[in-house]
């Protein structure tokens, strides 16, 4: 590859922006083109289910960089023009408008899109939450209650997004129910100890928890608007507005026919490389984590930026295995929760600092002598200090040895 590669970044959100910034920070001054599906310059998604949904921030405040800072990066931004195909051999990206953008390196940062429920598409009053427009639509629907009886929100999905959005909506005074198959919120990710405390928190603040029941569908009011959420118990939960937060799937449809391996994400080697000159960053990237000895895909904000740094370095010839300690945070009512590592439901969870009674504590998740993760509940600094144990576990050499090469 030439010393100053021409770089095409597909995706103009946090991961795409971070890739451009990292390239420039590392001294790259060649041409960079960023192709984005949405019409907006890079904006931040975590506030959408918090400050934007709550209305405490105007949507503009989610902009990640000012126009001047973006301008200063010297990249070409092609926005509102989704990529429709990639030829990995010529490293050329085709777009919906008919553009063909070629480079020496292509960085795929197309993110993920929300999963939906069967029968969801034609119904009004049913939302997903990933983009600014979707946040605005949900907020408008929640506020549009005067005389319309649209007071009841059912959030389908008790993972991090569902639990967070339920907390925000409840804080707005909306009659909110949270439904899903787990017994307590986020149980699959965090286990029964923390999940139980989340359930207590939500119940205490007025969220109706209808957990332990799978959702089988949505009921129509006869006029094309949602009327309720159907559970597999046969019950119907009345709803005027529904938020479907049942996870996301990586945005890889446009790579069909490219010959690149897609398997719940664009499959990459330990250097986040899918093929010669083709890399993947952020929610869309499934790469081989040498510390864990397996491939992972992370949907979190911090990874988008950290992985962009690793990929920018690789594009410039400095290839090192990408072995991050995953990190995510969520704010629910008064609880600021920070998670370092990848806890699992079956890990041994123990409060190691503070106490749940005081509303401030750190939980350590262990499997044998290995610390899989730590969680801080209103103890961000202390959680970060415990992170050291997690970092050791994530840096450990893989028991199965070297990394496979992506095909």
């Amino acid at each position: 590859m030439s010393a100053t590669p021409r770089v095409v970044v597909v995706g103009a959100s946090a991961a795409g922006l971070a890739t451009v910034e990292a390239l420039r920070r590392k001294g790259h001054d060649g041409p960079v083109t960023v192709v984005g599906a949405e019409p907006y310059p890079p904006y931040d998604r975590p506030p959408l289910s918090k400050q934007v949904l709550a209305g405490s921030w105007p949507p503009e405040r989610t902009r990640l960089r000012t126009a001047e800072v973006l301008e200063g990066l010297g990249a070409e931004w092609v926005l509102g023009d989704p990529a429709t195909g990639l030829d990995p051999l010529s490293r050329t990206v085709a777009t919906a408008s008919g553009r063909a953008v070629g480079g020496d390196a292509v960085v795929v940062a197309t993110g993920a899109r929300p999963r939906t429920l069967p029968g969801q598409e034609p119904l009004t009053g049913v939302h997903v939450l990933r983009t600014l427009d979707e946040a605005a639509a949900l907020r408008a629907d929640l506020l549009d209650r005067g005389g319309n009886g649209r007071g009841r929100l059912v959030v389908v999905g008790e993972g991090v997004l569902g639990a967070e959005a339920a907390a925000t909506a409840c804080g707005l005074g909306v009659d909110t129910a949270l439904v899903g198959p787990q017994r307590v919120p986020m149980e699959a990710q965090l286990g029964p100890l923390v999940g139980g405390l989340l359930a207590e928190l939500h119940r205490g603040e007025g969220v109706r928890l209808r957990l332990g029941a799978a959702v089988s569908g949505l009921a129509d009011d006869g006029g094309g608007r949602v009327r309720g959420v159907l559970l597999d118990t046969g019950e119907e939960l009345p709803a005027d507005t529904v938020l479907v937060a049942v996870g996301a799937r990586p945005e890889t449809d446009w790579l069909e026919g490219s010959g690149l391996e897609v398997s719940d994400g664009l499959v990459c080697d330990a250097h986040c490389r899918a093929a010669e000159g083709v890399y993947a960053v952020g929610d869309v990237s499934r790469w081989y984590h040498e510390g864990l000895g397996r491939s992972v895909r992370l949907e979190n904000r911090t990874n988008a930026v950290e992985q962009a740094g690793a990929v920018a370095a690789a594009v410039l010839g400095d290839e090192r295995p990408y072995v991050p300690v995953p990190y995510l945070w969520t704010d629910q009512f008064g609880a600021k929760i920070q998670i370092h590592g990848l806890p699992s439901a079956s890990a041994e969870a123990e409060v190691v600092e503070g106490s749940p009674e005081d509303g401030r504590f750190v939980v350590r998740f262990r499997r044998g002598s290995r610390t899989e993760g730590v969680l801080g509940w209103n103890m961000p600094k202390q959680a970060r200090q415990w992170r050291r144990e997690v970092a050791e576990a994530f840096a450990a050499p893989s028991p199965v040895g070297g990394s496979p090469v992506a095909g």
Partner: protein, 66 residues
């Protein structure tokens, strides 16, 4: 270089402290960023730029001209 931080945006991730502990810290009680040095020496500039760019809440602003 002059650094400003937006405490209201800060989510307490502590990424800045991991990268530039000479310039950033966190409050013990809520993890919000504490700016130890708003105009650090040149030897910290690269790390400060990286801290600002990786901040997951975009809470750090760097004025290069100041």
């Amino acid at each position: 270089m002059n650094i400003t931080v937006d405490e209201d945006k800060c989510c307490g991730a502590g990424q800045c402290v991991l990268i530039t502990p000479e310039v950033f810290d966190q409050r013990d009680e809520d993890g919000i960023v504490v700016l130890l040095d708003a105009a650090p020496g040149e030897e910290h500039h690269d790390a400060v730029r990286e801290s600002a760019q990786v901040c997951p809440a975009a809470a750090i602003t760097v004025d290069e001209d100041a």
